[in-house]
């Protein structure tokens, strides 16, 4: 998942689930629900979505709108352990694991009252997979799974005929109005999670074409997006619909009167685009916002405030952060050298001194709260003596290492974290390394070209809680999209590819565990911390189901349909 600022957060109890209740363990009775005109909630989305077309959304602050206005075939359960029926009532997978047949929900309607048909699903998927529209989430989720989509990269996007040929060859079919069939290239045990991504939504062809002023060739890149510009033409099948968009200021969601699952309690959800976390914090205190992320600088203030501390909620995110070594450069090609750096960061001290003790130290890849979390391998644990010995064993001197720099994005948070980390290396390994702080865009263009020594903190937030989403990062050929260090891991690709397509879940887990051990023991990267969220939520907001996959300052955004405001 694309990380919003530079750092996001995670965890929780083993379940990964928090239910925030307004009235404590006793539950909420209908008596203390606020009146319908008081069922209004104001939250801070931080940044305006770049698009209201769900297929074009890539960040959580965009998806928070997309997944409430549109509904996918399946969705995650509250615990994040499995999928549950949503836009589809049920689905079945053929024995060879190649054909997914979705029985669509009967009675499902669009917000303008028309029935959702299989043709809408086919159109939505084709809209997503149209290479001319270059949606950010097609690769690697859909082009590597859906039959025919592997040619995604080779389509000449200037020719409508080439695009049409590609789209009609895809394994997407609507044998009848209530059935949607997806055929895969190869078995993929994780595909049920892929269809939970907000980008895989149905879209109304008639609405798109009407907004565009008629039909258009598939190579057109602007007309297919006109519908997503105005609240009136954003017709969705989700529990809410958009009633108002005030650019750069806020977007308002109201119940979709035709939603199959009944009316929600919330009559209005206003998502504000307030970039400054301190302003949002002030607006929470003056009652203008009902939930916020606490700015790091104010964490201690909240902890010591008798009233605010009761409204604080800490919960984990499925997000891990790490430091990347350029394994294409000597001496970082040596696992011993990388391990020496990994073992000389005192993560607990880092979290305490720099992060107000919100994040949790981690020595492994998969975050707490999803299958695959395993803290038994302590190979990267803090041990300066062992770290020094490793450097000696590798025959690397301080003089060699001192010329390397830690590449840092010029945000306050990244600078503070990296200054601490580089100090740890200097003190524990007897070095005199420096930070190299430059603007974010330049950092990205440099790491894409492999032009760095050490870079971080970089991380990953789960798109869905399946391990495939994580382990594919370190494929040899994905060297320049997140595996910046291009570390050499013999046998890793074959093992992970086998686990990705394996249908037996136990065998998958075993293979992924082996892969994780390899990442840790080879110090592919130095794992540092798992992200946690520190939010304030007004006590009268009830029935929120907070999951580790929520947007950072929009707690419970996957289950707002069931949340409510109590009398206050």
């Amino acid at each position: 998942m694309h990380l919003r600022v530079s750092i996001r957060a995670v965890t929780l109890a083993a379940t990964g689930l928090f239910v925030v209740s307004a009235c404590g363990p006793g539950g909420t009775t209908s008596q203390n629900l606020a009146a319908p005109d008081k069922q209004v909630i104001n939250m801070n989305d931080g940044t305006e979505p770049n698009s209201y077309d769900p297929t074009q959304q890539t960040y959580t602050y965009e998806a928070a709108v997309g997944r409430n206005v549109f509904q996918t075939l399946l969705s995650s359960n509250a615990q994040g352990t499995d999928v549950v029926a949503a836009g589809a009532e049920s689905y079945k997978v053929s024995d060879d694991g190649l054909t997914y047949t979705f029985k669509l929900r009967s009675g499902a309607k669009w917000s303008d009252g028309k029935a959702v048909t299989a043709a809408d699903w086919v159109y939505g998927y084709k809209h997503l997979l149209n290479p001319a529209l270059a949606a950010g989430y097609v690769d690697p989720f859909f082009d590597t799974t859906i039959k025919g989509a592997d040619g995604y990269a080779d389509v000449d996007v200037s020719k409508a005929s080439a695009i049409d040929t590609f789209l009609s060859s895809l394994g997407l079919a609507a044998p009848d109005p209530n059935t949607f069939v997806i055929t895969l290239q190869h078995p993929a045990a994780f595909f049920k999670w892929v269809v939970t991504l907000w980008v895989a939504s149905p879209i109304r062809q008639d609405v798109v074409e009407q907004a565009a002023g008629g039909t258009f060739p598939s190579s057109d890149t602007t007309k297919p997006e006109v519908w997503a510009q105005k609240a009136a033409t954003i017709i969705g099948n989700g529990p809410f619909k958009i009633s108002e968009i005030v650019s750069k200021d806020h977007v308002t969601l109201v119940p979709n009167p035709s939603y199959w699952g009944g009316a929600p309690h919330f009559q209005k959800i206003v998502l504000w685009f307030i970039e400054d976390a301190n302003t949002a914090y002030a607006k929470y205190q003056t009652g203008d916002l009902d939930a916020i992320t606490v700015p790091l600088a104010n964490v201690d203030v909240v902890r010591n405030d008798p009233k605010l501390s009761k409204e604080a909620k800490v919960y984990p995110k499925l997000t891990t952060f790490w430091m990347t070594f350029n394994a294409q450069k000597t001496p970082f090609d040596k696992p011993d050298v990388r391990m020496a750096f990994a073992k000389s960061i005192d993560r607990d001290k880092l979290n305490k001194q720099v992060q107000h003790d919100i994040q949790k130290s981690i020595l492994s890849f998969i975050p707490k709260g999803m299958a695959g979390y395993d803290e038994s391998d302590k190979a990267q644990s803090y041990d300066p003596t062992a770290a020094k010995a490793l450097l000696q064993k590798a025959g690397v001197t301080a003089d060699t290492l001192n010329k390397f720099k830690l590449l840092t994005r010029n945000t306050t948070r990244n600078k503070t974290l990296n200054q601490f980390i580089v100090d740890q290396w200097n003190n524990n390994l007897g070095l005199n390394m420096q930070l190299e702080v430059i603007d974010s865009k330049t950092v990205t263009s440099r790491i894409r070209k492999g032009n760095f020594d050490i870079y971080g903190p970089d991380g990953w937030g789960a798109d869905y809680p399946d391990q495939q989403d994580w382990f594919d990062i370190y494929f040899k050929n994905s060297c320049h999209s997140l595996n910046w260090g291009c570390v050499d891991l013999p046998g890793y690709d074959d093992l992970v590819k086998k686990a990705d397509s394996e249908l037996d879940q136990n065998q998958r887990n075993k293979d992924y565990a082996t892969a994780q051990k390899q990442l840790i023991d080879q110090a592919a990267v130095a794992f540092i911390f798992q992200d946690y969220e520190y939010n304030l939520i007004k006590p009268y907001v009830g029935g929120l189901t907070i999951t580790a996959s929520d947007d950072q300052s929009l707690p419970g955004d996957l289950f707002w349909h069931d949340a409510y405001v109590t009398q206050h």
Binding site: V5, A153, V157, E225, K248, A282, S445
Partner: protein, 342 residues
Amino acid sequence: MAVVAGRPKRGALLPKRVAAVTDSRLGSLGVYVVRRILWMIPIVFFVIVITFVLMHSAAGSPWDKAGGRQLSQVVVDNLNKKYGLDRPVFEQFLLYIWNVLHFDFGLSYQYQGKSVLELIAGGWPYTATIGVLAFLLIVPIGVGLGVLAALRQNTRVDYATMGFATFAASFPNFVIGALMIVFFSVLTYGWTGGNFFLPAGGWGMDDHLIMPAITLALLPIAYTARLTRASTLETLRQDYIRTAWAKGLPERLVVVRHVLKNSLIPVVTTLGPTFAFLVTGSVIVETVFSIPGIGRAFVVAVTSRDYPMILGTTVLFSIVIAIANLVVDILYVFIDPRVRLT
């Protein structure tokens, strides 16, 4: 002419002061204005050239993300094709100029399907409203305080006024904005039990405007006050002022008719660029008070390398500044009888 550090210098656009007064002062004004407006065409053109070159030489592409997984090369290539970035830069430039001549400033890369003109038209009213309000504060307060301090030079009034100006000029506006929010929103909310407080940011044509306008105005008020004080002191020492006093004119007449008319010339010079600066927005004020204006949009466009949006806002800014300078030059004709525009 006194130019205070930190204010934009007017430089080349400064009109020549001609000592000799000729009889066709106002007659040549119309021709002058038309010529200056025509001059804006090459000015905007060169602004575009420079912005284009700088923009494309800055590292990073519009499709890079600020962390996490990056878009795959396939998607990046398709996006480049979609927005014509796969063509040679010179060709992109010619195409852009051609489109601008047809009033087409292109589509934003960041906001899918939104045109640059639409984004600017959507955001500028917010920015301009705050800017005009701030300007309305600057003229009476800044000039008033400056004159007051000069007339009461070396008294407590003078020290208090200049102390305030130094304070306002040296506190960065993000600090002032944040402190005002804490004081007038959060603390006041607590003291009054939520009955009275100023909104901590957001938009509304009501008390939402108070804190942003004051925050934006403070620094220019400080500069204007200091500049007015300095030039008023200088004017007060002129012989003709001594003559006016000697004639026994009342203070009000001396100040308004004789002193101000001359001492305000340098102030008017700076008010033009100040006005342009205010109505084109401040990223800090707009961020702290969460105002959906174009000051913030411009900075976001730069950091996200949203090329069409960068060019669109830069062109707008250059036009606004050119017009503000022109207006100042015209005002001279009315303020200073010695000035002739040629």
